[in-house]
Symmetry: C2
Amino acid sequence: MLNYQAPLDLAFQALSDPTRRIMVERLARGPASVSELARPLAMTLSAVVQHLGVLEASGLVRSQKVGRVRTCRIEPKALTAAERWIAERRANWDRRLDALGAYLDETEPQPKSRRKS
Amino acid sequence: MLNYQAPLDLAFQALSDPTRRIMVERLARGPASVSELARPLAMTLSAVVQHLGVLEASGLVRSQKVGRVRTCRIEPKALTAAERWIAERRANWDRRLDALGAYLDETEPQPKSRRKS
DNA sequence: CTGATAGTTAAGCATTAACTTAAGTATAGA
DNA sequence: TCTATACTTAAGTTAATGCTTAACTATCAG
């Protein structure tokens, strides 16, 4: 009924493939052409282009063609969005643990003894 | 030939599904039973159990059964691993941009004029 | 013991993903 | 202009995903 794919779906999905992570890793060191991206990969150029399509659809990578070469570069904003989602959950969890710790300290101030009061 | 799934594959893959992100989000607020996880989700318990399977396989969630209820909790370490991968790529990219900026400043120290010297 | 609760497991099914091969289309350079 | 380069696009194949239904197995409570 609702066919909209949240940005995070696409970003995490894109990052879940090792080939695509290698591509992102390469692009983090600077822009590259499609052939350059393909060079270290054990698959056809065609397949690489398709991976690139996934990366672009996710917003993690942009590219532009000039002459016959397409130059790709990373889009750090999309990367940040994914990073932040994780960071927020983890922060939430850590905060909860801290609160729990404080509560335990309060109800049972003894340093290291007695299972039950 | 190599059938090993890197931890990151599994973690990102797990996070790419909105249902599973809702589950993680819930668990970030504290442990929960399978039924509790299922309550807000528009699908059968069976499906939820399968999603939980994916989350556990990825290491993002652990669970233990006591009596007839299975209690699930987040595993922050796995979350951190994914977060760090992204952070490192982004940092790499930012560092590169900084270096590029410095280089440009050096070769063309004029504050805001002249497209070409 | 009996029923309700909490979860498990196995099929089955429709969709999407990750490739491959094959056949194009534009440049760029000699 | 001819040829190699750098992609592009379209099928087609195989496997993995995200569900569902259905049938089962343990608790727990009365």
